[in-house]
């Protein structure tokens, strides 16, 4: 259903390293916002990989991943969504070759970007898959969020068969992309826990 963006990278580029300035901006804005607690203190949202499974692709080589992020929007994010602000979520899936003594090597990396926006006239939520340029409409927010967090038949392959005897791991995580928020909201999002929606890496070994 969703197209896959395939990135083969070696060695791994940590996701946080892509935007190092975030930390610094975070520091700066947090200093400024210390005096505005209303913006700062809020209920938090969450993203969790609720279930995921990998099956060997037929025909090979590679694996097919099915998974689901359960996304709970914080009230602040929900308010923004209902006021027409589009929210962008990113899912990151990696096939990793584990080394005992060395850094893990990322063999395959996929990034899925999805946007959700409220459509007032139709009273529906429009979920766009940015990678595939497709969209679906949902009457209910929960359905829309499920669609945002759904991973279906993602093919993990770099075109090469896996090495025998090597340990492979699959890991995935999801996050709300603060950088795609409108600038004024972004400032708050940098420091507010209400906007801090990042799942931990969900990792499991590949059994062959």
């Amino acid at each position: 259903m969703f197209a896959q963006e395939k990135i083969a990278a070696y060695p791994a580029i940590p996701a946080m390293a892509v935007q190092p300035h975030r930390l610094l901006v975070l520091l700066l804005v947090s200093c400024v916002l210390l005096c505005s607690p209303t913006l700062y203190a809020a209920e938090t949202g969450a993203i969790e990989a609720s279930n995921a499974q990998v099956i060997e692709a037929d025909p090979g080589p590679g694996f097919l991943l099915d998974g689901q992020f359960s996304i709970t929007l914080s009230p602040a994010a929900k308010e923004a969504l209902e006021n027409g602000i589009p929210l962008v979520f990113e899912s990151q899936v990696q096939l990793v070759r584990a080394h005992r003594w060395l850094w893990d090597a990322v063999k395959v990396e996929l990034k899925l970007t999805r946007q959700i926006q409220y459509h007032a006239i139709s009273r529906s939520y429009v979920v766009k898959d940015i990678n595939a340029d497709t969209q679906r409409n949902f009457r209910r927010l929960a359905d829309a969020m499920d669609a945002v967090g759904m991973l279906e038949d993602l093919l993990l392959t770099d075109g090469q068969p896996l090495e025998d005897g090597a340990d492979y791991k699959v890991r995935l995580r999801g996050s709300l992309d603060i950088e795609s928020l409108p600038t004024p909201v972004r400032l708050i999002a940098y420091v507010s826990s209400a906007w801090d929606m990042n799942s931990e890496w969900h990792v499991w070994s590949l059994d062959r």
Binding site: H21, E79, I85, H119, A120, I121, S124, R136, P182, P184
Partner: protein
């Protein structure tokens, strides 16, 4: 002299200006980014970061400058107070207007953003949305009715022709897509106006749930850029296919006019809601941007204030520092001329002034050197003079004394320089005639004067030939004088000795020679006529010739004695013990039958001197004989011979004193007692003491005659003693340093 220009590192303006321009660009980008423009939206975080970094750098610079200024102010460095004042002034000038602008900008900003929102507009948009929905609802109801009719038609259709029936229905009803799903949601058949779209749009789980509840679904679907679609989902029971349950989905395009209008309403409504939602964050981000601009401007202004104040104060500090240096006598400071303004002019003038001062000081130094040189030269000349020179100022203060003068007068003038000349009489009373002569001539205000002065001091009798000249100093009523004097004692003595020698030679030649013929003639007369004469006449002749012969004999003796005195000495000096010689000579007098007691008081130590034993014996004989003759007929007569070693003026002497208790020297002869033919005795050649003095002088000693207070005469002789040095050799101090009765002399 090394000229040390002050170099001060004044930071250039260009980096600062560059930084400011960068800051401005960054700030303007940030302001654009705050407007949420697409171009800069992405850069916003980076811009924020860059500006934060600039903030930190500027803050650090300002703090560093502040610390620097406080440090200088604490040290009371020159220019620190001026810099502080200038900085304060600049900061106040910058802070006040910027703060005012900030305050009003903030006000405008808050009100400006608030003014975007209007309850009426909001209401209008809400109404527009409701209206749109209502209009679309009408269309949706039509669609639902239409789809219901299609479902009814379809329920009669056989399963095998479903696909064709769907096509037929779609074309007839103007739907864009018709699809039939089974109960599991799988597509059974579909027909689409868009031939490229083979897979029909899937109903969402929410829609299927509604159907499962037995209701119909009707809704609007915004589909990409193509506009709005109405979606209807209705259950279909295929009667010819075991009454199986299916779902019919129909997609109808909303008419383009509707679609465009609805899209406009949707866009405006969403935009407005978004803006309304963003109102607070927008205010915050604008305020943040404005505050960053303010803080950056303020920090930049403060830094610029520091920079300008330092630039302004630097030449002034330099000037203060250099002036301080000049006040302490360092004229080598040169200041860098940094500008062409009045300050530059001041610095140039200062440099000119120090240059002139330095030149003047150098000239003064050269002049002083010249004067010093001349003075040193004069001193050398004065020191080389064999005459004594004393210069006095108008108040008789001693200004300069040369070496010869110090030596001649036996005074080290160190303690008397600057004091009045009569002050020396306190310790050197014997110089009274000398000082008196100078005072006398000063009173008489003569330009030049000359006088011979006799003084009796440690060196014995000294005759000084003094010449004085007034020193007229310009513009002063009274004048000082310079006194040049020569010790002519030795000269006079030599003249006198030479005269006596000449007399002796003449006597020997002119008198002694005729004496023998006179004596012979008298004896011949006597032999020839004495026997032939009458007794009376022969007695007369006898008496007369005898007298002649006796007197001639006496004259011969006298002349011999005299020539003995005048004879040039032929002495051989060797180390001897004076005491031993005295004992030896006095032994001869121990058996004298005169009633004179000879007392010997010799020093316990041997009196080691260098001398001619024979001449010294003669000296002792003369003195003892002189003494014995002087006490002849005196009751309790005694002659004392004493020696002692003594020290005076760093020199070792042997002093020999021969005294008697006779009548002493009469006042008239005491001054000239050592001159030949000066005697107090009725008998005597008058050469005894003259010879003694001659022998003493031959030995480099001095002799003094004086009367004892208890009565009697005392002859005091000082002879330089030998003393043994470390090597055992006997060393004699060079005579004449302090003992000689006169030295040099013109």
């Amino acid at each position: 002299m090394v000229i040390g220009p002050i170099t001060r590192k004044v930071p250039s303006v260009w980096p600062m200006l560059g930084l400011f321009v960068l800051l401005l660009v960054s700030l303007s980008y940030m302001s654009d980014a705050t407007h949420n423009s697409e171009q800069f939206g992405e850069m916003y975080s980076w811009l924020l970061l860059v500006n934060a970094a600039a903030l930190v750098i500027l803050g650090t610079l300002v703090v560093a400058n502040l610390v620097w200024l406080i440090g200088r102010a604490r040290k009371k460095a020159p220019g620190a107070r001026l810099t502080t004042r200038l900085v304060l002034m600049f900061v106040i000038l910058a802070v006040v207007p910027v703060s005012v602008v900030y305050y009003f900008s903030l006000q405008f900003l808050q009100r400006g953003i608030d003014s975007w929102f209007d309850v009426r507009i909001e209401q209008g948009l809400d109404d527009a949305l409701v209206l749109s929905r209502a209009a679309l609802d009408v269309r949706l109801r039509d669609v639902l009715v239409q789809t219901g009719q299609m479902a009814e038609e379809l329920s009669e259709s056989p399963y095998s022709t479903i696909a064709l029936d769907l096509y037929d229905l779609r074309v007839r009803n103007g739907a864009s897509e018709l699809a039939l799903f089974d109960s599991d949601g799988r597509v059974v058949a579909s027909s689409s106006a868009d031939l490229t779209d083979l897979v029909p749009s899937q109903p969402t789980p929410g829609m299927l749930l509604i159907l499962r509840e037995g209701r119909h679904y009707i809704g609007l679907d915004p589909v990409g850029e193509t506009g709005l679609y109405a979606r209807a989902l209705i259950p279909v029971v295929l009667s010819r296919h075991d009454n199986a349950m299916f779902t019919l989905q129909a997609l109808y395009p909303v008419s383009e006019r509707f679609s465009v209008l609805a899209d406009g309403v949707q866009t405006a409504y969403t935009r407005y809601r978004e803006l309304a939602y963003l109102r607070t964050p927008l205010k915050f981000s604008y305020t943040l941007t404005l505050s960053i601009v303010l803080v950056l401007s303020l920090l930049a202004a403060i830094w610029a204030a520091f920079h300008s104040a330092r630039r302004l104060a630097a030449p002034i500090s330099d000037l203060a520092e250099a002036t301080h240096a000049v006040a302490e006598g360092d004229y080598s400071k040169r200041l860098p001329v940094a500008s062409d303004d009045e300050l530059g002019f001041l610095v140039r003038s200062f440099n000119d002034m120090t240059r002139h001062l330095e030149k003047a000081r150098e000239q003064a130094y050269k002049g002083q050197q010249q004067i010093e040189g001349q003075r040193a030269y004069l001193e050398v000349v004065l020191a080389a003079l064999s005459s004594g020179v004393i210069s006095l100022d108008a108040d008789m203060g001693v200004r300069a004394v040369n070496r010869t003068a110090r030596k001649s007068l036996g005074i080290d003038f160190k303690g008397y320089l600057g004091k009045a000349l009569p002050a020396i009489l306190g310790e050197h009373e014997y110089l009274t005639p000398f000082v008196d002569a100078i005072l006398r001539h000063r009173r008489s205000e003569e330009e030049t004067w000359q006088e011979e002065v006799s003084v009796f001091g440690a060196n014995g009798r000294q005759v000084l030939m003094c010449r004085g000249a007034a020193l007229q100093v310009q513009g002063k009523a009274r004048s000082g004088q310079v006194i040049v004097f020569d010790d002519i004692t030795a000269l006079l003595q030599a003249e006198r000795d030479a005269a006596w020698g000449e007399v002796a030679r003449r006597l020997a030649h002119e008198i002694k020679n005729p004496l023998t013929p006179i004596q012979l003639s008298a004896e011949r007369l006597r032999r020839r006529y004495l026997d032939n004469m009458e007794k009376e006449e022969s007695e007369f002749l006898d008496r007369a010739t005898r007298t002649i012969v006796n007197q001639v004999e006496a004259m011969k003796k006298m002349v011999n004695a005299f020539s003995e005195y005048a004879r040039a000495p032929n002495i051989s000096m060797e180390p001897i013990d004076l005491n031993a010689i005295i004992k030896e000579v006095l032994d001869l007098y121990s058996s004298n039958d005169l009633n004179v007691k000879i007392i010997i008081q010799l020093d316990a130590e041997p009196a080691r001197i260098e001398g001619d034993a024979g001449r010294l014996r003669q000296l002792l004989h003369n003195l003892v004989k002189n003494g014995l003759e002087a006490v002849n007929g005196t009751a309790g007569a005694r002659v004392t011979v004493a020696t002692r070693s003594m020290q005076s003026g760093g020199m070792d002497y042997i002093e020999l004193c021969v005294s008697d208790n006779g009548s002493g020297f009469s006042a008239g002869v005491l001054d000239n007692v050592f001159e030949p033919y000066v005697s107090t005795k009725p008998k005597g050649s008058g050469l005894g003491l003259a010879i003694v003095k001659k022998i003493v002088e031959e030995h480099g000693g001095i002799i003094v005659a004086e009367n004892l207070q208890s009565g009697g005469a005392l002859i005091r002789i000082r002879l330089q003693s030998l003393h043994e040095d470390a090597t055992g050799d006997e060393v004699l101090h060079s005579p004449g340093e302090t003992l000689s009765s006169g030295n040099g002399g013109l």
